[in-house]
């Protein structure tokens, strides 16, 4: 009997530990609601998922690289580059301080595609450096972070070195608009994030690239001797990441209405943090889209919720930092063999 009890106790403890991150978050949300019950509203929920949308897209990009046992520190600067370039090309024709006053009004799709192309080139370069020159991803993308920031800043300086505003309303509406669906209206951003998530889920789970990505991240030698090209896989995943960064950068500027070269600063670490909280392993080969969605959502709830109840931003940093550490410590626990 005692043995059974001890076993149950152990199982309960295991369950609690394995789900500790969710328990902590529920408690946190509980405390926020307790402090201000108005937190629990449809409007707040809409705010949270809207804000989470661009982060979701970035997280999906960087998550692929993490599954490859890599990382990407250049995400934020790629967002900045896409933001300044797209903003400068998509200003209202009537805007007094238009950077290119004589440029015809472009269909918004063209600058967006151009920015996606730009970030994809830089991201592909990351991939080439990692795959061909065997530079560790941390260093390669740290370097690329500086390069991309430099490029974005030079451009920003060249076009006037002041916040690029007066965006084409079609462009801002592209991000800020909503899709009415009966009594509720769904923000466009949420729709984009949802579609992107579905596409990336499909690639991860249903295509060769997805399978190869997990194989290369899990055991590169095994992948190589099975005829998988490691170089090709790394580059394709980098291309996918670049596309997502560019898209997210354009959405981010359209959402906020103006851009400087510093837009996106720190987004990389936010994205990586959300992804690892969502259970993607830093050592590669492990991760799921569901986990990433959860991770991103959790972070946004904390961000928004803590601000909502007026917790000092400095304390918010501490709470977020602890959550990252606890989440990964608990996650790692599952993979450590007990001796």
């Amino acid at each position: 009997m005692d043995k059974v009890k001890a076993w149950d106790k152990k199982r309960t403890l295991d369950f609690l530990l394995n789900n500790a991150i969710y328990i902590v978050l529920l408690l946190l949300v509980g405390v926020i609601i307790f402090m201000d019950s108005s937190f629990l509203s449809v409007q707040n929920f809409t705010f949270i998922i809207t804000q989470a949308s661009t982060r979701m897209i970035l997280a999906l990009g960087v998550a692929g690289l993490l599954v490859l046992a890599g990382t990407d520190l250049s995400v934020g600067r790629m967002v900045g580059l896409a933001a300044v370039v797209s903003a400068s090309l998509l200003q209202e024709p009537e805007y007094a301080r238009r950077i290119f006053p004589d440029m015809p009004q472009l269909a918004i799709i063209l600058p967006i595609l151009f920015c996606i192309l730009l970030t994809t080139i830089f991201s592909t370069l990351n991939g080439l450096i990692i795959a061909k020159l065997n530079v560790t991803p941390f260093i390669a993308t740290l370097g690329m972070q500086l390069v991309v920031y430099g490029v974005a800043s030079i451009y920003y300086d060249a076009v006037g070195a002041s916040p690029i505003a007066g965006l084409d309303p079609k462009f801002t509406k592209f991000a800020q608009g909503t899709l009415p669906l009966g009594p509720i209206s769904i923000p466009n951003l949420v729709i984009y994030a949802a579609i992107t998530t579905l596409i990336v889920w499909f690639i991860w789970n249903k295509t060769k690239l997805g399978k190869n990505m997990f194989a290369v991240g899990g055991n590169p030698e095994a992948a190589a001797v099975s005829g998988v090209s490691i170089t090709k896989t790394i580059i394709l995943v980098s291309v996918m990441a670049g596309i997502l960064y560019g898209f997210a950068g354009c959405l981010e500027v359209a959402r906020t209405g103006s851009a400087t070269n510093n837009l996106g600063n720190g987004y990389d670490l936010d994205a990586i943090a959300a992804v690892v909280v969502g259970g993607v392993s830093f050592s590669g080969g492990v991760g799921s889209i569901g986990g990433i969605v959860t991770g991103v959502f959790i972070f946004q709830v904390i961000n928004y919720g803590l601000a909502y109840v007026n917790v000092s931003p400095y304390i918010q940093y501490i709470i977020k930092g602890l959550i990252i550490i606890i989440a990964v410590a608990i996650d790692t626990r599952k993979y450590i063999k007990k001796k």
């Binding site: 295509t207 190869n212 030698e221 992948a223 099975s226 001796k339």
Partner: protein
């Protein structure tokens, strides 16, 4: 030029790595519908030759013909597409993914860009059924036992429907029953006209399953003969280039009084060891035998304090002690040479000096915690001299030494801690025949110096050759302890199966 009677011809293959001529005129001729053993000591170039065939390495010179056609694969993908597949020595698997993902990796069945999950499952099931393998294709690799993982690798190599299948040490983690199963698979492949290149160190297997034997030494081709004309001794003498009538040094250690008593040792995290009891005498070599998975390693690891123990007592010289960590164990006079040299033995990127002194580091510190360089040099030199390590200098990186010399450095590392009880887990694994003899000699010399030695080994002749007593583990429990002089392989195997 070419003789189309052969399925595969490898002629005068040369391959040079920085500082080493790994292959020097190596050759191999494989007939269709035959099993061809490729033999040689570790470092003889067998795996290198196979990696040249498979496109993992590119040979510097030489020619390869497949079905009389000249080929030159630049990557494994090409080799696989031309009907050459390989069971790798290291289990090359993506542990986090499912069995079927591993089998079809690099050639997933798909419709357009979508992977055909169902087809993949059905095909895997079919392959397993054909080979009578009972593994769920949807199970994750990490949840399989080592031998199941190996069977998956074998099934994968077979599934390419290749004409040439290379098996590099395919039986290293298989039980005898599974080896039989593998032999059935091999015979089936043979009857379908496949040529199989079989690399193994297990002589009995070679003589049982193989038609021809090619022996290599130092990257060179030495001989190719029908297996029927060969004996174990003949193969060994071809491999080492000299007659090795004395595989073991003369045993002249004399066991004395009991120094260690282990009573009912049980590990915390089961399945593991249960109720293990034995004693060890001064100057004695106690062998531990057992099948794969019989928890032999767990015995020494629990003694050494790196596995948690739930119950049991360890008594040294009449005093009960508890090793809760490796540090404590070392203080109590234990030393453990671990099983997997590359993973837990050597610091590959560091030099011999570092590798020699690391377990004993605190004894080189003065009061301020600064290391005494002269003493470090002196002790490193002692390791090199007394263990007869062949190295140009103390500064040589340990990974550039042969397996045998690496093992000598690690043995020396432990002797510097001045242990009373030396636990050696597979001390001669991956070491060539000549170096094995030297390790045996070192072990016996240590016994003569009154050390108590526990030696785990999977090689029966070695246990019978140098131990005084043999403890046989079966499924985590002690199946029996026998006197080496009065036992034989059959008795040990019978004991090993006692609790299965």
């Amino acid at each position: 030029m070419t003789n189309t009677n052969y399925l595969l011809e490898m002629k005068d293959i040369e391959k040079e790595f920085p500082g080493v001529k790994a292959l020097d005129g190596a050759k191999l001729y494989l007939k269709p519908a035959s099993v061809h053993a490729l033999m040689g000591e570790n470092g003889a170039g067998k795996s290198t030759l196979m990696k040249c065939l498979f496109g993992i390495y590119l040979e510097d010179a030489g020619e390869i013909y497949l079905n009389g056609e000249k080929v030159n694969f630049i990557n494994p993908k090409q080799a696989l597409e031309h009907g050459v597949s390989m069971v790798h020595q290291e289990l090359n698997q993506v542990r986090q993914t499912r069995v079927m993902d591993n089998i079809w990796l690099g050639r997933f069945p798909s419709k357009g860009i979508v992977i055909a999950e169902k087809e993949m499952y059905e095909k895997t099931k079919k392959i397993f059924e054909d080979l009578s393998i009972h593994i769920n294709p949807k199970e994750k690799i990490e949840n399989l036992s080592l031998s199941q993982q190996q069977m998956v690798e074998i099934a994968k190599a077979v599934s390419y429907q290749s004409k040439v299948i290379v098996m590099d040490e395919p039986t290293s983690s298989l039980t005898e029953k599974e080896v039989e199963h593998l032999f059935k698979i091999i015979n089936k492949l043979k009857s379908q006209g496949c040529g199989i290149i079989y690399i193994s160190h297990k002589m009995e297997e070679i003589l049982k399953i193989c038609d021809d034997v090619t022996v290599m030494r130092d990257g060179k081709w030495i001989a190719t003969q029908p297996a029927a004309d060969l004996t174990t001794d003949k193969i060994i003498s071809l491999m080492v280039g000299r007659d090795l009538s004395h595989r073991f040094p003369p045993k002249d250690n004399i066991p004395g009084e009991t120094i260690l008593e282990v009573k009912n040792l049980t590990a915390t995290y089961q399945p593991s060891i249960q109720d293990v009891s034995f004693n060890l005498k001064k100057g004695e070599v106690l062998g531990i035998a057992g099948l794969m998975g019989s928890k032999r390693t767990e015995v020494v690891e629990t003694l050494f304090g790196i596995r948690k123990r739930a119950a049991g007592e360890v008594v040294i010289h009449g005093k009960s002690i508890i090793n809760k960590s490796a540090q404590q164990a070392i203080k109590n006079g234990f030393a453990l040479l671990t099983e997997d040299r590359r993973q837990t033995g050597i610091f590959g990127v560091l030099d011999i000096k570092f590798n020699s002194i690391i377990a004993n580091i605190s004894s080189y510190c003065n009061k301020l915690g600064v290391l005494n360089g002269k003493k470090l040099d002196g002790d490193t030199q002692w390791v090199i001299d007394s263990m007869r390590v062949k190295t140009p200098s103390q500064k040589t990186l340990i990974r550039s030494l042969s397996g045998g010399n690496q093992q000598k450095v690690i043995l020396g590392r432990w002797l510097l801690t001045n242990p009373e009880i030396l636990m050696l887990d597979e001390p001669t694994r991956g070491i060539d025949v000549g170096a094995k003899y030297e390790i045996y000699q070192l072990i016996l010399d240590l016994a003569k110096k009154d050390k108590g030695i526990i030696m785990i080994s999977s090689e029966m002749p070695e246990l019978l050759g140098i131990t005084d007593r043999i403890l046989v583990m079966s499924n985590g429990r002690v199946a029996g302890i026998v006197n080496t002089k009065e036992t034989n392989q059959e008795e040990i195997l019978r004991l090993a199966a006692k609790y299965l």
